[in-house]
Amino acid sequence: MKRALSSGGRKVLRWNSGLEIRLDTLWAALLLVAAGLGFSGLAINVGATRTGISDFIGLLSGATLNENQLFALLDVRLPRLVLGFMAGWCVAITGAMLQSLSQNPLADPGLLGLSQGAMVTILLLLVFAPAAPIGLVPVVAILGGLGVAVLLIWLTGGGHSDGLAILLMGIAVETVLSSITSIMILYLPPETSFAVSDWLAGSLFQASWGNIAALAPWVALSLPAIILLGRVLSCYDLGEETAMSLGEPVPRSKPVILFTSVLLTSAAVTAVGPLAFLGVMAPHLANALAPATGRARLVLSGLTGGVLVVGADALTRGFAGDIAIPIGLALTLLGVPLFVISMRLRAVLTLQRN
């Protein structure tokens, strides 16, 4: 392994096998990992039980804790932390994939209706078959998301459609599905609609090792997806025509990207509810840290998404007191100021360069 300059003149670490990683990408990833560890430490420390990171480290090295401390660390705080990171990772990667696919920086699973598709089918299940087994929920969510993806592909003329057409049709489908959600909330019995509204706002209350085990296969799926689709997406970033001229079979790869996005989104929505705006915000914040494409962009976006969810949850649990702040709102409170600052910095830098 040695330091070198890439063909674009950027500093890279190059391995003998030919693999090279840009140094700014590596630093950004390390920064995100450090932020993630910092927020994790805070998340482990925050709670009604007097225990924290030192007890957790002690536990790993064989110390004995009382039942309340074990419950707080292993049944509440750690599952919340892990599930939050995994859900944020999935949603942010999906956002980055869809932005490359549609060649539009506004695309995210929410805007294209994929989250709404999963949500509406889960709502229909909760309302019309409340006694249905809990294990059916992820299946139904994936079917809902897939339904929207198939509808989008069909409405926009298959794999030959351009990114803007998918985005516009996605907005239309999302609007219709949002209306259905609103109608259901309006006409459901008050208690059911309160429960549904809670879930729509996003929640880590259900975080448990069981839920983590259910989401883990989908997070694992994201790793080969990053490896296989990363290069494809960097071609998409150059525009579909250029991608095709580079040998990318767009009509085949486009449905595969959409399908992967559906799987990751539906799994995350099932676990914690929709995480509004994270799919847009995380890739942009990652881009502000280190502009990247392809696999690096997906990994940085995923890390940013995970860190944002963990940070938002830890900060609100630590400082909100008796005010209930759902994770969706907490994410907005933490992420949007960062998003605004990064956008403003980008605008200022662009002005200075011109």
Partner: protein
């Protein structure tokens, strides 16, 4: 490897084993092992579960909607308003912010039983790691009057306490019936709950029990194609038009317990806002067959709420 084994053992040990003395089936069809005589009960709904249990003489140790010091996070303190001098002392402590239950706080209360409504089914598995969770039906269509309190008395071994409360209540029903101007057994009633809209109160509430035990029949709304309201704990929405045509022999109106102001003047103000001019076209109002009550005191499924309703009817009859 040793550390992994220790961690695994710790993980398993954290699911506290609770002494389980008997097996019961809750209203969601779940089989639950609960102590023979639960002493440290946490309730997930104050008016629907906490107040009935406290009315039986058992003070819950924790109650959703309360702060750490036992103060209420809601606009009405149901324990105080419904039970008055029989309210738990000390008050049950909170289990986190409204809409954000805190599992750690819940566990520090060391409950031996958690009681929720059928709407808490999705939380039951998570909460079962702390204590057995029993789900009690509380919605209109599933329970009626103060049946929920009776069911809870049976669950918690407080049948004698419930029987005593009911005997006193039935004597009071006879007393109040004697003060009424006509025989209520020939008459109809309807209870209206004003939120941002007009709602008919369903079958689940102490006040409904009192009215029906006096002999009143609930005015049927089916011919108006009104929603049946199944699944709602309390309410069935009504249009202003339907409301204007209502003519029960006794119309009971109350403000939502989400408001601080629930007296007659506040209820009249709410009606003015939702149905302007109601005094002129609503027949029960023109003929003095309208009764204004405080929703927080009469809507819990308890004998105490039924007694408050009898007091209100008696006061109205003596006017």
């Amino acid at each position: 490897m040793k550390r992994m084994l220790l961690l695994l053992t710790a993980l398993l040990a954290s699911h506290a084993a609770v002494a389980a003395d008997r097996s019961v089936t809750d209203d969601a069809g779940r089989t639950v092992e609960i102590p023979a005589a639960p002493e440290r009960i946490v309730v997930l709904h104050e008016p629907l579960l906490g107040v009935p249990i406290a009315d039986l003489g058992l003070a819950p140790v924790g109650s959703y909607g309360r702060s750490d010091d036992g103060g209420t996070q809601m606009s009405a303190d149901f324990y105080q308003l419904v039970l008055r001098d029989r309210a738990p002392d000390p008050m049950p402590r909170g289990i986190g912010a409204l809409g954000n239950m805190d599992l750690e706080k819940l566990r520090t209360l060391e409950p031996d039983l958690i009681v929720g409504t059928e709407h808490d089914l999705e939380k039951a598995e998570q909460l079962s790691s702390i204590a057995p969770v029993y789900l009690q039906n509380s919605s209109t269509g599933r329970v009626r009057g103060f049946n929920a309190e009776e069911a809870l008395a049976k669950l918690l071994g407080r049948e004698t306490a419930f029987a005593e409360r009911k005997t006193g209540y039935l004597a009071r029903v006879d007393e109040v019936r004697a003060t009424l101007p006509g025989d209520p057994r020939q008459q109809s009633y309807l209870v209206i709950f004003l939120s941002d809209q007009i709602n008919a109160v369903g079958e689940m509430a102490g006040m409904v029990q009192a009215l029906e035990d006096l002999g009143y029949d609930r005015l049927s709304l089916e011919r108006d194609n009104t929603v049946a309201g199944f699944g709602a704990t309390l309410l069935v929405p009504l249009s202003a038009e339907t409301f204007g045509r209502l003519d029960p022999d006794l119309l009971v109106v109350m403000n939502t317990f989400g408001k601080q102001a629930r007296d007659e003047a506040a209820i009249r103000q709410s009606l003015d806002r939702i149905v302007p001019g109601w005094q002129h076209f609503l027949k029960p109002a023109r003929e003095g067959r309208i009764l204004f009550v405080d929703s927080a005191t009469v809507t819990t499924p308890t004998v105490a709420s039924a007694l408050h309703m009898l007091d209100a009817i008696e006061a109205w009859a003596k006017q």
